[in-house]
């Protein structure tokens, strides 16, 4: 899932500026699960902003609404009136959600309330760790299900660097050495032969390095209506 963190309140207030009517839009998917921008977080932030604005002497009307997923037009359609009513829309979606809101509703000012961090998972309640870098060409089949792109600080493809020490990374001793994890996993599964396969230099064109990516599935696209609607 996408893991994000709420921006500090001071920064959010700065982004809202002189707005008198603010609509907070929460998202019910990833940011709910990482407790950054769900319905609860939107309500709490709304209450804090209302109180804070009154204490600052400039009471602001702040309401909140949460959609199931902020990155899909159909879900955003449902809040059209709420958006029209606001001076500024404070999106608690990930970067995708903020942009979807801004694209779907081009007139209002849309500002982000979160910093989108990474794709990862919850290790335990309250702890999230990065697991995927969206490199576009998954090699997890060769590395026992552990990603050297996301989890190796140097994104090495053929074993650890000389800095790997007692299973920890030299960049940050709190980080597990991904190649140690890969080795241990393949050994436990009796598949250590996989590690002998040399992975050639990565073609990063499938990653962000090749520019913003688009996927088109012709088999899923809906046929356009034969005549344009009036």
């Amino acid at each position: 899932m996408i893991v994000a963190e709420q921006k500090p309140l001071g920064e959010i207030k700065g982004l809202l500026g002189e707005a008198r009517k603010v609509l907070i839009v929460g998202c019910g998917t990833c940011v709910t699960v990482c407790f950054a921008g769900g319905e609860r977080e939107a309500s709490v932030l709304g209450s804090l902003l209302r109180m804070s604005s009154r204490l600052d002497g400039a009471p602001t009307t702040v309401t909140d609404v949460t959609v199931q997923r902020q990155c899909e037009w159909e879900y955003l359609d449902a809040i059209r009136e709420r958006v029209a009513d606001a001076d500024v829309v404070l999106s608690l979606g990930c970067g995708v959600g903020v942009q979807a809101l801004a694209e779907h509703y081009p007139e209002p000012v849309v500002v982000p309330g979160l910093n989108t961090k990474f794709m990862g998972l919850p290790l335990e309640q309250g702890v999230w760790a990065e697991r995927c870098a969206a490199c576009g060409e998954c090699m997890l089949g060769l590395t026992g299900g552990i990603c050297p792109i996301a989890r190796c600080s140097k994104q090495l493809l053929n074993g650890p660097c000389g800095g790997s020490s007692h299973g920890k990374c030299e960049i940050n001793p709190e980080i597990d050495c991904a190649w140690q994890l890969i080795y241990d996993k393949l050994q436990a599964q009796g598949r250590l032969n996989l590690i002998m396969e040399i992975i050639p230099a990565k073609d990063w064109r499938t990653s962000r390095d090749g520019g913003p990516r688009t996927i088109v599935r012709e088999d899923l696209k809906l046929p356009k209506p034969a005549t344009a609607e009036a």
Partner: protein, 159 residues
């Protein structure tokens, strides 16, 4: 429910400052202790209005924020003694949330001391009276909440 329990009055209308403190009490211990204080005819400040929860663990951060937003001068959260929660560790959850709310209040410039947690057993009627007295003193020292709103404004909103 919560908002109708808070009726803001401007200090000028009152002789001695009348405080509005909301107390979220767990059914098994704190509420029972409050009830016992009544049975024992203990005297304590009248500034507290009790809201019963099945367990302090039911306390929602939004309940506390809502109370303060609508003008409560203080919010007490009272639960079972640590280790003795009827629902195992609801009181510990409440403790965590009270700490979280205090941090949020500091961020917006409201005194975190307006929210405070107390622990007691159902047999501790005296402790309830002491807790309310301590809370009343603490809030009185802080003064009325800067977020108090005139009664007519609340009435106009149907609260």
């Amino acid at each position: 429910m919560v908002t109708s329990d808070i009726r803001s009055q401007s200090p000028e209308q009152l002789g001695d400052l009348e405080l509005n403190i909301l107390a979220f009490c767990c059914h098994y211990c704190a509420y029972a202790a409050a009830d016992l204080a009544g049975s024992l005819r203990l005297q304590y400040p009248p500034s507290v209005r009790v809201v019963k929860l099945p367990c302090a663990g039911k306390l929602d951060v939004l309940l506390v924020l809502g109370a303060l937003e609508h003008g409560a001068d203080g919010v007490m959260v009272a639960g079972c003694l640590e280790g003795d929660c009827h629902y195992q560790h609801g009181n510990l959850n409440a403790k965590r949330r009270v700490g979280y709310v205090q941090a949020l209040l500091t961020e917006i410039g409201l005194e975190p001391e307006r929210v405070r947690m107390f622990n007691m057993s159902s047999a501790m009627g005296q402790r309830w009276a002491e807790a309310v007295t301590a809370m009343d003193e603490q809030i009185r020292a802080l003064g009325p909440s800067p977020l108090r709103r005139p009664a007519d404004e609340l009435q106009a909103e149907g609260r």
